[in-house]
């Protein structure tokens, strides 16, 4: 089973990376950019009996390792 986990910073948490990218894009002439927030993607292959239990398992992985829930949110999506 394939899944994608997306981890993003919570609202209000400073994102120095996003800020630096914003500045750089502007410097490269991309003038329309208003904001950039950077996050992480994990493409996970796992064996699970069904997508419901896969999702639950992935959520546990996020809570335990993939996301820092103090400052990050996560979203899990089963792809196939």
């Amino acid at each position: 089973m394939k899944a994608r986990v997306i981890v993003t910073l919570k609202n209000g948490v400073l994102d120095p990376q996003g800020q630096a990218i914003e500045g750089s894009l502007e410097g490269l002439g991309f003038s329309g950019v208003q904001s950039v927030r950077q996050g992480k993607v994990f493409d996970v292959e796992l064996s699970a009996p069904d997508s419901v239990s896969a999702k639950a398992e992935l959520e546990r992985m996020c809570e335990k390792l993939l996301a820092n829930t103090v400052i990050e949110n996560f979203a899990v999506e089963i792809i196939d």
Binding site: P16, Q17, A20, I21, S24, G27, L28, Q38
Partner: protein, 219 residues
């Protein structure tokens, strides 16, 4: 022999590099800020280590896309020597002046320690002060020094003698392919090097093994 050290915001080993170039070459290098309108005519351009733009996005990525890098690319094409150390190496790969990429260390941790380097090609302007196969000491200090290139590129740089320095297998600090620590471009006038020879150039540093690189370039 005139040299210049180019500084992008966030670089932090420029003072170490200036000290090394000054001590070994006798004259201080020109200090060039990335936004300066001009890069003076020099024989050696050095991009020192550090965390340009915080190493955000990818190490060296943002600096690599600055206008100053276009100037450096032009000079390199004309044969001017370019040395990128640590973040400088990462900037050179991101800018496409050197092949491959530097990925996160296999340990995922920043590592600062002394390693051993084998001189894999002593026939370059950067390494001719050393003997072929000589093993020297050198410190590393980086988070992303794990050299990667696809098989074809790797075969090519190996075949061309572009690999100039390798970690001895038991001291490879980052998992880099073929223990690569430093490579040149095809023409041999641009060197990227993860370790920091500038931090081992005088007895107070506990050794002078790094001196040869600068001595070979500057004298």
């Amino acid at each position: 022999m005139k040299s210049a050290v180019v500084v992008f915001p966030g670089l932090n080993r420029e003072r170490d590099m200036i000290a090394a170039l000054t001590k070994i070459g006798g004259t201080p290098p020109a200090l060039v800020w990335h936004k300066d309108a001009e890069l003076p005519e020099v024989d050696l351009i050095v991009i020192p280590g550090g965390f340009s733009y915080g190493d955000y996005l990818r190490c060296g990525a943002i600096a690599a896309r600055s206008p100053m890098m276009d100037v450096i690319r032009e000079r390199a094409e004309k044969g001017v020597r370019v040395l990128g150390v640590c973040n400088g190496f990462q900037i050179l790969t991101e800018a496409g002046l050197l092949p491959g990429a530097l990925m996160r260390n296999a340990s995922l941790k920043f590592v600062c320690r002394e390693v051993k380097l084998e001189v894999a090609n002593a026939n370059t302007p950067f390494s001719h002060r050393y003997a072929q196969g000589q093993v020297i000491r050198c410190p590393v200090a980086h988070h992303d020094g794990n050299y990667f290139a696809d098989a074809e590129t790797l075969a090519e740089i190996e075949g061309n003698g572009q690999v100039v320095f390798r970690y001895t297998p038991e001291t490879n600090p980052n998992g880099s392919l073929n223990h690569i620590a430093g490579i040149t471009n095809r023409q041999g006038n641009v060197l990227g090097l993860m370790p920091h020879p500038e931090n081992l150039i005088e007895p107070a540093h506990g050794g002078e093994d790094g001196k040869g690189i600068f001595a070979g370039l500057l004298n």
